[in-house]
């Protein structure tokens, strides 16, 4: 008899155990975007854009967004404040974007990302971006038009596919920040008046901190190619400046190959040569239509122009102290003795990076 009772108790316990984790969809309030800013008093302000969904009957849905603000001296506890202000449970799964103001990003982003990375209830593939000016201005754009966060998300995802922005999310950012000898670049958003949000380029990070230096959209595209991060395709438009006569060319990069080599010479100078071979498809090239396309020449011009631009980008990278190539990591594995002696934060500026771009036209398509 006792055994039977015990068995029933165990089975009942099993049944009860499950309900603990029940989170009914009805009770959830969806958050679709989060931003963090530094206030003038030096506190951290979190702005959450939550969804207010109403059924209007007949399958019609009315969605209105609500902004919720919370302020604390440190990010810890912000989520409790927000939870208290929202009806029902806060659901962060659909919060696809975390925006960080540039002032706050300069102080470091790790402490902001930590709850997302560790919390079991958050979406680890969220996108993260740094905003020009206050992040709150971006997340509060067009409050009646919902959901702006998804608009931002789509913009970022589209840019990733076109190789304007690196394909990063919270998970990858977190692991890369914690890896010594490698720095990341993050999307850099800006608000274009009156009510548009655009990609300003990429923000160069040094460790967990925003260096303050940014690259434009065109530059970031080339940088990503140099980093061997060609996504689906990469679209570029260039002005070929040759003997005063201005010609522009637009092309897709279809395939590419990168060779990166790091050598340390006897004096301890670190030289990194980055060679990329791009296979491109010319998209548009307004020219004298009577003449045939001189492919060899265009290839040469393009290679020179892109190499020139690559050099500019690398100067900015060195200024920002952003080791996007992961040179430090390579040295730490190939020359561990040297790595132990180096203070990489200081030494990185002295690295000589030699980019070389080689363009090959594989298709001219409709340009003949």
């Amino acid at each position: 008899m006792k055994k039977k009772q015990l068995l029933i108790l165990i089975i009942l316990n099993l049944f009860l155990a499950g309900c603990w984790d029940q989170h009914l969809l009805v009770n959830k309030t969806f958050v679709n975007g989060i931003s963090f800013d530094l206030t003038e008093e030096g506190k951290i302000q979190a702005t959450v854009r939550s969804l207010n969904i109403k059924g209007k009957g007949g399958g019609q849905i009315e969605i209105e967004d609500e902004l919720i603000y919370a302020e604390r001296p440190s990010p810890v506890g912000l989520s409790i404040d927000i939870d208290n202000m929202v009806a029902g449970e806060v659901d962060l799964h659909q919060a696809h974007i975390v925006l960080i103001g540039d002032e706050l990003a300069k102080k470091g982003i790790n402490q902001l990302l930590e709850p997302f990375y560790r919390g079991k209830e958050s979406n680890i593939t969220k996108k993260i971006a740094i905003s020009k000016g206050k992040a709150e201005t971006i997340i509060s754009t067009e409050i009646e038009k919902s959901p702006i966060a998804f608009f931002i998300l789509q913009t970022i995802e589209g840019a990733e596919k076109a190789t304007y922005l690196p394909d990063e999310n919270i998970l990858t950012v977190w692991t890369k920040i914690l890896t010594p000898g490698k720095d990341i670049i993050l999307p850099y958003l800006e608000k274009i008046e009156p009510d548009r949000i655009g990609i300003a380029g990429v923000a160069l990070m040094h460790g967990e901190k925003f260096s303050g230096e940014t690259l434009s959209k065109e530059q970031s595209s080339l940088l990503l190619l140099l980093l061997d991060q060609l996504n689906v395709t990469s679209r570029m438009a260039l002005v070929l400046d040759q003997e005063q006569e201005e010609r522009s060319i637009a092309f897709f990069t279809r395939k590419m190959k990168r060779d990166m080599e790091i050598t340390v010479d006897k004096s301890g100078k670190i030289i990194c040569s980055v060679d990329i071979k791009m296979q491109i498809e010319v998209n548009s090239y307004p020219q004298d239509f009577k003449e045939d396309l001189n492919i060899k020449e265009i290839e040469k011009e393009l290679s020179e122009e892109l190499t020139k631009q690559a050099n500019e980008i690398i100067t900015t990278l060195l200024q920002a102290n952003c080791d996007a190539f992961g040179i430090g990591m390579k040295i730490s594995t190939k020359h561990p003795d040297l790595w132990k002696k180096l203070n990489w934060d200081e030494e990185y500026k002295n690295v000589q990076i030699e980019p070389k771009v080689n363009v090959k036209i594989i298709k001219t398509g409709n340009v003949y």
């Binding site: 499950g18 009914l24 969809l25 009805v26 959830k28 109403k54 059924g55 659901d91």
Partner: protein
């Protein structure tokens, strides 16, 4: 405790009685049970005598002086002879033309030579005479003769052969079994014209004496299987056997399993196809459905139409049907799990509309699903038995009025209506109705588990179901063959349906004696 005591008491009592009466206690019970049914004053083994009047009395007494037992006296060979028949069981026309007519006209000779019936039997036992009367024979008793002549003049009224309503097909044959056992065997013999086709009769039920026949192909069917089925049918000792459902319950291996372990069908083409796989058909007189043993799970998702359409189409529909089984079991459960545990798996667009439709629903999703599932069963049950014009009204009331009004009153979310509707349709896909209903019923435990543990619960219950399926055996053959135990060569005609020329070997789940079933199929290609 109580039961044990009772059992002990009974045992003691039996011992006591058997000592007194000198019976073994087992046979004591058997005797008693027989006595309780055939409560006639005539002893089972009593023989006819030479005294015709005594015989007439005995037979009348045997039939409890029933009033439809007719007696007619004739003079033959200058002696009185008496014809008995059960008024309701014989065909009067044939009685007249083939028995009474010839006797009256000929007057002299041997009765068995002048009557025109198909069957002539000599019996000397009163009980045999009695049962012959029940089978539609007429009995002739002669003066100074202790043997009776039984002549078959049975009345055969049965409906015509029609396509079964519950197993319609589009392109396969349109005949179906009926209530008459003879016609059913005729339908089988017409399709399998071989001397190997063997029919064995059993008579089950002490009151009903229902004829049960077992049909199989002698040289193909596993001998052990035949013996086992015979043993199980022979062991049935009941008063009444009314329909195929009774016998199914009596002889199946796992009566507590939710899965049907015998395929019942009204389609002769389906029955024959299993006959030629070395399976055994059981036909119960009075039911149009015949049983096929042993059977596998996958047989319930096969339709004769699969074989008559192109193999690609047949395979496609088979796969769709298996999908329907999974949908019928899990779909409401997945919905419940998603809205109560894992809403993060939903894409943004659907998330919004589900969220909105749930907004004002006061019940937890499990109650919602149960209510709708039960409503659906109610509607189905209500419309089955109603005559067609009223059934249509039920459809409208159920589908349109309840469907929309329930949502507008926000008792149930409209996504739930979609989910339940899809589940119902998926369960109706099963070509054999029983399996569809089983699948729908299996949905309930999965739903409960989903509401308790989310996806984890669904996985647990599904694991349980598949463990049960793999463990299940019917008549010593695995129910989930050819997946468990896995047999590659049997897949080609169970889960998929390949071209006929690839099906050179029979399915082996019922252990047929000969495995190979075709030799030259597309031989013209080599010449």
């Amino acid at each position: 405790m109580l039961l044990n005591k009772e059992g002990k008491l009974r045992k003691e009592l039996i011992q006591l009685v058997s000592q007194v009466e000198g019976y073994n206690h087992m046979s004591f019970f058997k005797k008693k049970s027989i006595r309780s049914i055939s409560n006639s004053p005539i002893n089972e083994s009593q023989l006819l005598t030479n005294d015709i009047n005594k015989n007439i009395h005995s037979i009348r007494d045997y039939h409890c002086r029933t009033e439809d037992l007719m007696v007619r006296e004739l003079i033959f060979n200058k002696n009185i002879c008496t014809i008995f028949y059960l008024d309701s069981m014989v065909n009067k026309d044939s009685l007249h033309s083939s028995v009474i007519g010839p006797i009256v006209e000929t007057k002299y000779g041997e009765i068995q030579h002048i009557v025109k019936t198909t069957q002539v039997k000599f019996t000397s036992r009163i009980s045999d005479v009695g049962s012959d009367l029940l089978d539609g024979f007429c009995i002739i008793l002669r003066e100074n003769n202790a043997t009776a002549i039984s002549l078959s003049v049975v009345e055969n009224t049965s409906r015509s052969i029609e396509e079964p309503d519950n197993e319609r097909s589009i392109i396969s044959s349109h005949d179906g079994f009926i209530e008459d056992i003879g016609t059913n065997i005729f339908l089988l013999r017409k399709r399998v014209k071989t001397p190997q086709l063997k029919v064995k009769y059993f008579s089950v039920g002490k009151l009903t004496n229902t004829k049960v026949s077992m049909v199989f192909i002698e040289n193909l069917t596993d001998k052990k299987l035949i013996k086992e089925v015979e043993r199980r049918i022979g062991s049935i000792e009941v008063d009444q056997l009314l329909s195929f459902g009774d016998i199914e319950d009596y002889i199946e291996d796992n009566p507590n399993s939710i899965f049907p372990q015998m395929l019942t069908t009204e389609r002769p083409d389906r029955a024959t196809s299993y006959l030629t796989e070395g399976k055994i058909l059981l036909i119960v007189d009075g039911s149009p459905r015949i049983m096929i043993v042993p059977i596998t799970f996958f047989a319930f998702y096969q339709s004769p139409d699969d074989y008559n359409s192109r193999w690609i189409i047949g395979t496609f529909f088979r796969l769709i049907r298996f999908l329907s089984f999974i949908v019928a079991i899990t779909f409401p459960a997945i919905y419940i799990a998603v809205v109560s545990y894992h809403s993060e798996v939903l894409p943004i667009g659907i998330l919004y509309s589900i969220r909105v439709s749930l907004e004002n629903v006061p019940f937890p999703p499990l109650i919602e699903a149960f209510a709708m599932q039960i409503t659906l069963e109610l509607l189905k049950e209500a419309s089955i038995r109603l005559p067609t014009p009223i059934a249509q009204t039920t459809g409208i009331v159920g589908g349109l009025v309840i469907g929309t009004a329930v949502v507008e009153a926000s008792f149930v979310s409209n996504i739930m209506i979609v989910v339940i509707g899809l589940t119902a349709i998926a369960s109706f896909v099963a070509p054999v109705n029983e399996m569809g209903t089983s699948a729908r019923l299996l949905g309930f435990p999965v739903m409960i588990a989903a509401s308790l543990f989310g996806f984890f619960g669904i996985v647990l219950v599904l694991m349980g179901i598949f463990m049960h399926l793999c463990k299940l055996q019917t008549f010593g053959t695995p129910y989930f063959a050819p997946l468990a135990p896995f047999k590659m060569e049997d897949i080609k005609d169970s889960i998929v349906r390949l071209s006929f020329w690839k099906l050179n070997s029979r399915p082996t789940d019922s252990k047929p004696i000969y495995k190979k079933q075709q030799w030259r199929t597309r031989g013209w290609k080599n010449n």
